[in-house]
C-alpha cells in the first residue's frame, strides 16, 4: 500500500475516499450535504460527494444540486485530500475556489483530517 496519492488518478482517488468514508462513517454521521468538486486542467472533471445519514457516495457529473462547490487542479485536489496542502492556505492563495456555503467547505476539511491518510503520503 506504499503508493503516494499523486500516483492515483482522480477517479482512483475518489474510489479511495468512498472506501475510507464507508469503512468508518463516524465522522460523517448526521451530515446531509452534497459537495461538488470541479477539477480543472489535467484530469478535468466534475464529481459529487453525497453524504447522507452516515453514508458516503461518489457520483460523476452533477446529478444533484450541490450545497458547496470546490474548484481546483487535480494535483492540488490530491494534496488537499491527504493533508499535504492546507485548505485555508490554498484558499487564501487562490488555488482553491469555493462557491456556496463556505462553512461547509471548512467543515469538510476538518472532517477529512479525522481520517488517517498517512499511507498515501
Amino acid at each position: 500500500m506504499a503508493k503516494n496519492i499523486q500516483e492515483y488518478t482522480v477517479d482512483e482517488a475518489w474510489e479511495e475516499i468512498e472506501k475510507n468514508l464507508q469503512a468508518d462513517p463516524k465522522p460523517i454521521e448526521g451530515l446531509n450535504v452534497v459537495y461538488q468538486y470541479d477539477i480543472t486542467g489535467e484530469e478535468e472533471g466534475t464529481y459529487q460527494l453525497h453524504l447522507s445519514d452516515g453514508k458516503a457516495k461518489v457520483e460523476k457529473g452533477t446529478p444533484a444540486e450541490p450545497d458547496c462547490t470546490l474548484q481546483m487542479g487535480a494535483s492540488d485536489f490530491k494534496d488537499l485530500l491527504v493533508g499535504n496542502l492546507n485548505g485555508t492556505a490554498a484558499f487564501m492563495s487562490g488555488k482553491l475556489k469555493v462557491k456556496g456555503d463556505i462553512g461547509l467547505a471548512i467543515k469538510l476539511e476538518s472532517l477529512l483530517r479525522k481520517y488517517d491518510t498517512s499511507q498515501y503520503k
Binding site: G73, G87, S93, G94, V98, I102, G103, I106
Partner: protein, 404 residues
Amino acid sequence: MISFQLSDHQQQVKEIVHWFAENEMRPISMEADRLGKVPDEWLERINQLGIQLSTSSFGGDKQKSGSGEKKKTERQGNRLAVIASEELGWGDPAIALTLPGPGLGGPPVQSSGTPEQKERFLSIFSRDEPPRWGAYALTEPDAGSDVSGIRTTAKKVEGGYVLNGQKIFITNGGRASWVVVFATIDRSLGRAGHRAFVVEKGTPGFSCTRLAHKMGIRASETAELLFEDCFVPDENLLGGEEYYQAKASGPSGFRVAMKTFDNTRPIVASMAIGIARAAYEYTLDLVRREYPKQGSFYHRASELLADAELDIEAARLLTWEAAWKADIGQPNAKEAAMCKAYAGKIALDVCAKCLELLGPIGLEQHIVEKLYRDAKIFDIFEGTNQIQHLVTARQLYEPHGVRV
C-alpha cells in the same frame, strides 16, 4: 490605474474571512472579553484548521507551488492582508491579535532575517503542532514613540550577546515561542547602535513578569518582559553580523523596526476600520428597526450615520492605497502613516456616534461598548496618532528642506 473592483480572489478572501469572523469569532467575542483571554480550546481548534495571523500568508510570495503554474503573478499580499484584516477587526480585534502565528514578529524576520533564521523561526507555525506565536518587542518604559530612547542593552560576549532591560506592552509576549527584541550595543551610537535579536521562550534570564489589564482588547495578551543577563547566541542576531556591518551607515535595528511599520500600519488601520464598520452596521440596523421614521431624532440619526459611512469609506480608500503601493514596490511610508492616523481616529469617532445613537442600552455588556473600548488602542500602537502626523509631515516637507 484606478480600479476599486475586487478581483475574484480578493472577493473570496473577503468572504471566507468574513465567514470566519461571523461564525467563529463573534460567538466567543463577549465571553473572551469578560474572561480577559481567548479560550485555549478555541485556539487549538482554529490552529488545526490552519488559520493563522501571518502577514506573509497571502499571495504566493514564497510558497513551493505544488503544480508549478503562474510564476509571475502580481504581488498582492498587502492588499489581501488589509481586506482580510478588516473582516477580522469586524469579528473581534482582540481575538484577531491572538490568532496563532508569527503576528507582528513575522515582518522583521521576513524582511531582515537570514535564510537560516527565516526557516528556523517561521517554520514552527503549523496546524499539525500546538498553536504557537511570535512577538515584537520595542516599547520600554522610556521608549515608545521615541525609539532612540531604547535602554535595553546588548553586550557582546564570546559566541553571542547578553541582554539586560525591560519591555512593556508586548502583544502575545508571554505566550510567544520567540520575541524580536530591540536593544542597543552602545547608547552613544544612537540609532546605529540598535540591534534586533530573536529571543526564544525558555532562554535563561528571559521572563514574563506581568500581564496588563486594559481598557480594551482585553482578550489580547499584553505582557511585560524582563531580560536579566540573558545570553542570546550570535545566530539569533536578526540578519547576522554582516547585515549591520555591510555599511557603517547601513541598516540599524532602527531601520529594521521602521521598515516593518510600512507593511503593518495598513493592517492595523484596516482592523480599526473593521471595528468602526461593526459598530456602524449594528447601529444602522437598530435605527432602521427602532427609530421613529420622522422628526428631529430621525434626522439627527441619519446625519450621524451618514458621517460614519463617509469616515469608514474614506479610511478604507487611504488604507487600500497604502497597501497597493506596498504591493507594487513603491515607497509607502507616508500613505501607511496617513491611513493609520485616519483610521485610528475615525474608529473612535464612529463608535462614539454609535453609542450616542444606542443610548443607555449600549452601555451594559454590549458589543458596541466593547468595540468603543477596543478602538482606542488602534490609535496608539504601531505609532500613536501624533506620531503618524509627524511621519506624514516629514515625508511631505523633507524634499523642501524643511525638517520637522
